[in-house]
C-alpha cells in the first residue's frame, strides 16, 4: 500500500493520497517510512517537471499534498526523535526583490530531499543572511532573484558573508530567470543552478564532497 501512496502523490491525487496516508498511519506504519515515501514521490514529480510533463500548478499541488501528509506523519512521530538531515541550507530572495515562486519551489524540493531548510523569505538583507548563517552554520546558502537589480544585492550579500569571516564555511548558489554562470562568477557565488533539480544536485554534491 505504501507503494500506492507514492504513485498517488506523484499523480497528484490529493484526496486518495491523504486517505491512504491516514490508513497507513492508523495501521501502524512508521511515520518515518511515510515521510520517505513522500520523498520518493517528490523525486518523481521533479523528474516529470524536468521532462516537461508537469508544470508550475502541478508543483504547487504536490507541495500542498506533501505538506498535508507530512503534518499528519509528524503529528504521530515520537517527540525527541530528530531525523538525520542530508545538510543545512539557508535561502532567501535577496534585498530589493520580492519574487519567490522559484525560491519556494527550490526550498520545497530541498526539504523533500532531506535538507533542513531555513527559508528567510523575500527582500532579505545581507545582514539577515549573515545572522542566520552564523546561527545555524549551514552547508549551503541559496540566493534567489528575478530582477537584474538583485545581482548587486547578491554581490553585497556575498561580500557581507566574506566580511563576517563565514565565506569558507559555506557553498553559495544563485538562481532566478536572469541569472547565469557569468552572474554567479561576478557576484562571487560558487555556482548557478538553472532549476530546482539542478540546485538539489549541486547541494548534494557539495555536502557529500565536503
Amino acid at each position: 500500500m505504501s507503494e500506492k501512496l507514492v504513485n498517488l502523490i506523484a499523480d497528484l491525487q490529493e484526496e486518495e493520497a491523504l486517505a491512504t496516508a491516514r490508513q497507513l498511519i492508523e495501521g501502524g506504519t512508521d511515520p518515518m517510512a511515510i515521510l520517505e515515501r513522500c520523498r520518493e514521490a517528490t523525486e518523481i514529480v521533479g523528474k516529470r517537471f524536468e521532462q516537461g510533463q508537469y508544470f508550475i500548478p502541478d508543483l504547487l499541488m504536490s507541495g500542498e499534498i506533501l505538506q498535508e501528509i507530512s503534518e499528519l506523519a509528524k503529528s504521530r512521530m515520537k517527540k525527541g526523535i530528530t531525523t538525520g538531515y542530508a545538510g543545512k541550507v539557508v535561502m532567501g530572495t535577496v534585498e530589493g526583490d520580492l519574487h519567490d515562486i522559484g525560491k519556494n519551489i527550490v526550498a520545497f524540493f530541498m526539504e523533500a530531499n532531506d535538507f533542513q531548510v531555513f527559508d528567510l523569505g523575500v527582500d532579505v538583507t545581507p545582514e539577515k543572511f549573515v545572522e542566520k548563517i552564523r546561527e545555524v552554520q549551514p552547508d549551503v546558502v541559496g540566493m534567489s532573484g528575478l530582477l537584474t537589480v538583485a545581482f548587486k544585492a547578491m554581490k553585497e550579500t556575498v561580500d557581507a558573508i566574506k566580511e563576517a569571516g563565514l565565506r569558507e564555511q559555506v557553498k553559495i548558489m544563485i538562481g532566478g530567470a536572469p541569472t547565469n554562470e557569468q552572474v554567479a562568477n561576478s557576484v562571487g557565488a560558487d555556482a548557478y543552478a538553472k532549476d530546482a533539480q539542478h540546485g538539489i544536485e549541486l547541494a548534494k554534491h557539495w555536502v557529500t564532497s565536503c
Binding site: L12, Y54, P57, L98, T148, F151, P178
Partner: protein, 389 residues
C-alpha cells in the same frame, strides 16, 4: 529639421513597422523605466512622489538619446494617489522603503476562493464593496465618512496624474518631436484574476479545485478588459495598447491548461479590441515559444509580438510576415555587459530578424535603475548603424 517634422518622421517610422511594413530605419523603442531616474540623477522617491520630476527625468533622456518613441515616465504610478486611499499592497521609496529602492507589490490572496460567485455575478460591485476595503486602509469601512472622503481624494488624484501624463505627452511631442509608443493598457483576463486578485498560488490551485469558476470569471472579464483598453487610450487607434502578459509564460501552465484557461479569453480581448481598430502590444514576458502556433491564430497585425525569452528564430518563422516583432536585447547584458557586447548582439539581431521590416528594437524586459548609460548609447548607435534599410 523642425520638431513637427521630426515627430512625423518618427511616428511614420514606428507605425509603418507596427503595421508590418519596412520603414527607412528600424524603430528604436526602449522600456527605460526607472533607469531614466538614475540617469537624470533623481531619487526613486522623487520619481514616485513628484509628478514634475517624474516627467523631468524623461526630458533629460530625450535630450541625450536618439530614440523614435517613448513609453512614458519612469514611474508607472503616482504614489501620492495610492497614499490618498491607503493602499496596503504597494510599498514605495520614501514611505516603507529607502529613497532609492524600486517600488514593491505585495502579492497575496486578496480575493478568496469563496468570493468567486459574487465576483462572477457582478465584478464591479464586488470590487467596490469587498476588494477595495480589503486592500486600502481608507476604505476599511465602506460608506463611512473616511471612506467617502478617500473616494473623492483618490478620484482627484487619479485625474491629476492622468492630466499630468497627457500634458507630458504633448510636451514631448512639441519640444522634442517625440511620439509615444503606446496608448492605453489592458490585460489577459487570466492575469487580471491571477495577478492581483487570487495571486499565483490561489489561481494555480483553482485550476484543479474549481476550474469552472476560473473559466466563468475569465469570461466575465473579457468585455471589461476590452473596455479598459479602449477607455485608457481615450479611443486612440493609432498606437497599440500595452498588454504585459504574465501567467501564460512557459512553464506556468501545461499546454492543455493554457489552451483551456489562458488563451480563449485573451484571444477574445485581443480580437474585441482589433474589431474596434485597436492593436495590442503583446508584451510576452518570459518564454512563450510553445504557444507560438496558437498565437498565430490571431488576425494579421492585431498584435505586435514582443520577444523576451521566447525563441526569436521560432517567433520569426511562425509569426513573421503577419505580425511585427519587437525585442530583445537582454537586460542582464544591458546592466552587466560591455558596450562592445551590446553592439555585437544588436548587430546580429538586426541582421537575422529585421531585414524585411516589421521589426522594432527594444530591451527584452522592462529596464531597471541598474542599466548602464554607455550600454544604452551602444544599443542606439548599433541600431542606427546596422538598422538603416
Amino acid at each position: 529639421m523642425g520638431k513637427e517634422e521630426l515627430f512625423q518622421e518618427r511616428f511614420n517610422r514606428y507605425t509603418t513597422a507596427l503595421k508590418g511594413g519596412k520603414p527607412d530605419k528600424v524603430p528604436i523603442r526602449l522600456q527605460l523605466s526607472e533607469f531614466m531616474a538614475a540617469y537624470a540623477g533623481i531619487t526613486l522617491q522623487d520619481i514616485y512622489y513628484d509628478l514634475d520630476k517624474n516627467i523631468a527625468a524623461v526630458d533629460k533622456i530625450l535630450a541625450d538619446f536618439d530614440m523614435d518613441v517613448i513609453g512614458g515616465t519612469p514611474s508607472l504610478w503616482w504614489a501620492g494617489q495610492h497614499d490618498a486611499v491607503g493602499a496596503k499592497y504597494l510599498k514605495f521609496a520614501g514611505r516603507e522603503l529607502e529613497e532609492n529602492r524600486q517600488f514593491q507589490y505585495v502579492e497575496d490572496e486578496y480575493m478568496l476562493a469563496d468570493d468567486y460567485d459574487a465576483f462572477i455575478a457582478d465584478p464591479t460591485k464586488w470590487i467596490l464593496e469587498s476588494y477595495l476595503p480589503r486592500i486600502h486602509e481608507e476604505f476599511a469601512e465602506p460608506g463611512s465618512y473616511r471612506a467617502n472622503l478617500a473616494l473623492i481624494k483618490g478620484t482627484a488624484a487619479m485625474m491629476m496624474s492622468t492630466g499630468a501624463s497627457q500634458q507630458a505627452g504633448a510636451h514631448w511631442a512639441k519640444d522634442f518631436g517625440m511620439p509615444l509608443s503606446i496608448a492605453g493598457f489592458s490585460k489577459a483576463p487570466f492575469d487580471t484574476l491571477g495577478d492581483t486578485l487570487r495571486g499565483l498560488k490561489g489561481i494555480m490551485m483553482d485550476l484543479r479545485k474549481r476550474p469552472d469558476k476560473v473559466l466563468a470569471a475569465t469570461e466575465v472579464l473579457v468585455a471589461h478588459n476590452i473596455f479598459y483598453g479602449m477607455a485608457t487610450s481615450g479611443g486612440d487607434t493609432s498606437l497599440p495598447a500595452f498588454m504585459p502578459l504574465h501567467r501564460g509564460s512557459y512553464p506556468f501552465l501545461n499546454p492543455k491548461q493554457w489552451d483551456t484557461f489562458y488563451w480563449p479569453s485573451l484571444k477574445a480581448v485581443i480580437e474585441g479590441m482589433w474589431k474596434l481598430g485597436k492593436q495590442t502590444l503583446f508584451y510576452a514576458e518570459g518564454n512563450w515559444t510553445p504557444y507560438l502556433e496558437k498565437i498565430a491564430e490571431l488576425p494579421d497585425h492585431s498584435i505586435v509580438f514582443h520577444v523576451d525569452q521566447t525563441d526569436m528564430a521560432k517567433a520569426k518563422a511562425v509569426l513573421g510576415g503577419r505580425f511585427c516583432l519587437s525585442g530583445n536585447v537582454p537586460n542582464t547584458l544591458l546592466a552587466y555587459g560591455k558596450p562592445g557586447e551590446v553592439k555585437e548582439y544588436v548587430k546580429r539581431l538586426l541582421n537575422d530578424y529585421a531585414a524585411d521590416g516589421a521589426f522594432i528594437i527594444d530591451s527584452a524586459g522592462v529596464m531597471q535603475a541598474d542599466v548602464k548609460a554607455e550600454n544604452i548609447a551602444a544599443l542606439i548607435e548599433a541600431a542606427r548603424e546596422f538598422g538603416t534599410y
